[in-house]
């Protein structure tokens, strides 16, 4: 009997998966950390150009997306609490809201990038190479790389959340085995946090 209990412990160790997720978050922070270093160096070298290029961005859409992500962080945090209280329906509902908000964020991003494309601004475009200064080229290069990589993380986050939804429906993630949902939440907060830095760096600092 005791051996069984032990085998069970090895099989499911919520603490271990949480430590694992935190360590993975470190690696994600360093991944973006490299980009933040590049950004700050080029901002320092091309202050005027970064200022000009930053004004091209649509602060309204950026602000809306920031608010959306903050709300989604709240809904996913609430879903972990409702799971603890065994309210499966509420949990699934809150996760659905989170996913919808994530998708809306991506749609906004799509229109934002689309506007840039229609103005002839994309990496290596004729307009950029002939009309813009080197600092502006760097700004938009970094803008597309960093927001693009962030959008990729949103998509990964959504997949993890959908996976959690599936497991909650099946009942294999429940109030006693909540690690998957908690990790999905941690990851989503990370994605949110990175945006909290991207937004002022690109849209607000002038």
């Amino acid at each position: 009997m005791e051996q069984n209990a032990h085998a069970e412990h090895i099989h499911y160790d919520a603490e271990a998966s949480k430590i694992g997720m935190w360590l993975f978050i470190f690696t994600e922070l360093l991944l973006f950390g490299g980009l933040f270093i590049v950004y700050s160096i080029y901002r320092f070298m091309n202050q005027e150009a970064f200022h000009l290029a930053g004004e091209e961005l649509n602060t309204t859409i950026g602000a809306i997306n920031t608010v959306l992500l903050l709300i989604s962080s709240m809904t996913i945090a609430m879903s972990t609490s409702t799971l603890q209280y065994k309210k499966k329906g509420a949990t699934l509902g809150l996760l659905a809201v989170t996913v919808i908000i994530g998708v809306v964020f991506l749609v906004n991003k799509y229109f934002e990038w689309g506007t840039k494309f229609s103005h002839g601004i994309w990496p290596g475009s004729e307009h950029m190479l002939s009309e813009l200064s080197q600092g502006e080229i760097l700004f938009f290069g970094l803008y597309f790389v960093m927001t693009g990589l962030h959008a990729l993380h949103i998509i990964i986050g959504l997949i993890i959340i959908l996976f959690a939804v599936f497991r909650i429906q099946k009942g294999t993630v429940n109030e006693n085995r909540a690690a998957l949902l908690e990790n999905a939440g941690l990851y989503w907060h990370l994605v949110d946090l990175i945006w909290i830095f991207l937004f002022p760096l690109f849209y607000l600092i002038h």
Binding site: H6, I19, G20, I41, Y42, G124, F144, V145
Partner: protein, 540 residues
């Protein structure tokens, strides 16, 4: 039949013969058993190692005489690039942690497996994917990558060769390395058996712990750098392109922020293996257990802050040069502490001279030469003279091949009876070591001299005055490969036909020697408990 009986029956079979849900080859490549994954890594890493050795031999053959010997300059550039990419990303970085770490870590801390067995298997699959990506860069497309393993900008997005798959391959291999490190960290934190306190961990586990932190915290930086190079090639983002305002030197910084700590990923577990071999064959408590732990963590930490010494001639402020040079000298101190500890452990020990000890002793010898020549390179004035010469190649191979490679050989001869349950032929193993060691010295020592005289590296040609040294060096490569062939034939033969090994043939004290050889599927029938006065090096 209750569950305990079933478990017992499963443990009758060892991990090599165990038949699970899948049979045959599938039973291996889908196994989540850390021991089988360790062997999967062993076989795949050895395969890539032989490819790398063949490329190295070809390069040495080209340098047998000035001018074109067997290949034109473009082929030579491609050869040293692929040799470097294979040896660094597929052999030396995963080498000891992925093979011996996977096999031994759970047993050494008294656990049944790593914390995330499925993730462990995924790491190996990612490794294989990375290997195939790099190989596809070699086999397909227009031209084999010719940038050198460092992928320096701006050439890495100007070259017309098929570089993209190689870059993606390096990225995927990095991801595999991160996941292994993450797995080991959680395993060491969560799965130590009762009584296995931090100060009772075997030193190999401690070095894996330090390594895992570096894998976790340094590898993402090269990941993003590779992504940027790829985007540069595909879209022309401009971040490292001077024509668009980017800074190629920034690429070098980002690259070495990972790649210098990476040399500590390579050497730390090697030091750990040596720290297991030396007390075992001296039958003596390791000298300065805590000093070795402290120096391990110090290397892991200071190793982050020295990357600039790869770039002394690339264009950097004088102040930055002073700091990087000073820190380079500082990072030599913990390594020296370890050498001191190993030698002090042997002092007044009852030394049992066996093949692993030959490897360990020769490790100390080549590591000392490699380390001291590193200080020559870390000194600013001397660096300007020998930068990008054969001296650097000699130093690097003394540390990475002499250090990590010798430790790997020592480790395989040390743990071989545990892994395969059979003993190798000791006379042939010793002969293989001797030939290999002589070949190694003959191959790399002349390169110190050639570099000092000014022979640059990465050229297929050289001046007539360097001919003598190069003949000697090429000759050494043949001796070394002869030794390698002897070693490999002996080990492969013995794994199948050698005499059955005992549980603890070397009278070692760490936990892996308390289970049968080869270990049972679940390692331990009952999780061991470490008593107050037990320790990994309790020799009486």
């Amino acid at each position: 039949m209750n569950k305990m009986q079933k478990e017992h029956a499963a443990n009758e079979a060892n991990y090599l013969t165990y038949q699970g849900k899948h049979k045959g080859l599938l039973g291996w490549i889908l196994s989540t058993d850390h021991k089988r994954i360790g062997l999967l890594y062993l076989y795949s890493i050895m395969t890539m190692f032989f490819v790398g050795v063949l490329l190295g031999l070809a390069m040495k053959f080209e340098l047998l005489a000035p001018g074109k010997t067997i290949m034109n300059p473009q082929t030579y550039n491609a050869t040293f690039t692929v040799h470097g990419v294979i040896m660094i990303f597929m052999v030396v970085v995963p080498g000891l942690p992925a093979v011996f770490g996977n096999f031994l870590l759970p047993i050494m801390i008294g656990a049944k497996d790593v914390a995330f067995p499925k993730l462990n298997l995924l790491s190996w699959w990612l490794y294989v994917l990375g290997v195939f990506l790099v190989l596809s860069a070699v086999l397909f497309g227009n031209g084999v990558p010719d940038t050198g393993w460092t992928f320096y900008a701006p050439y890495s997005f100007k070259t017309g060769t098929n570089l993209l798959p190689a870059i993606f391959g390096a990225f995927v291999l990095g991801f595999s390395s991160i996941l292994t490190g993450l797995n080991f960290l959680v395993t060491i934190h969560r799965l130590r058996c009762p009584g296995m306190t931090w100060t009772k961990l075997p030193l190999f586990v401690w070095t894996l712990y330090g390594t895992a932190w570096i894998q976790l915290l340094a590898t993402p930086v090269i990941g993003i750098t590779m992504v940027l190079i790829a985007l540069e090639r595909i879209f022309g983002v401009g971040i490292f392109d001077p024509a668009l305002g980017g800074d190629p030197i920034l690429y070098q910084h980002l690259f070495w922020i990972y790649s210098h700590p990476a040399v500590y990923i390579m050497i730390l577990p090697a030091m750990g293996a040596i720290s297991e071999i030396i007390p075992t064959f001296s039958q003596k408590q390791i000298f300065g257990y805590k000093a070795i732990i402290a120096s391990t963590m110090a290397i892991a930490f200071v190793g982050y802050l020295v990357w600039g010494h790869h770039m002394f001639t690339a264009g950097m402020s004088g102040t930055a040069q002073y700091y990087f040079s000073l820190l380079t000298f500082v990072v030599a101190i913990p390594s020296a502490i370890k050498v001191f500890n190993w030698i002090s452990t042997m002092y007044k020990g009852s030394i049992n001279v066996q093949t692993p000890l030959y490897w360990a002793a020769s490790f100390i010898f080549v590591f000392l030469i490699g380390g001291l020549s590193g200080l020559v390179l870390g000194a600013l004035a001397a660096n300007v003279h020998v930068h990008d010469t054969a001296f650097v190649v000699a130093h690097f191979h003394y540390i990475v091949f002499g250090g990590t490679g010798f430790a790997f050989m020592g480790a395989i001869h040390f743990w071989f009876p545990k892994i395969f349950g059979r003993m190798y032929d000791k006379a042939w193993a010793n002969a293989g070591w001797l030939v290999f060691f002589i070949g190694f010295l003959t191959l790399y020592t002349p390169m110190f001299y050639l570099g000092m005289m000014g022979m640059p590296r990465r050229y297929y040609d050289y001046l007539e005055e360097f001919h003598g040294g190069n003949i000697l060096s090429t000759f050494g490569s043949w001796i070394m490969v002869t030794g390698l062939v002897i070693i490999v034939i002996n080990l492969v033969r013995s794994a199948r036909k050698g005499p059955v090994a005992e549980m603890d043939p070397w009278h070692s004290k760490t936990l892996e020697w308390t289970v049968s050889s080869p270990p049972p599927v679940e390692n331990f029938d009952e999780i061991p408990v470490i008593a107050e006065d037990d320790g990994p090096y309790n020799y009486k």
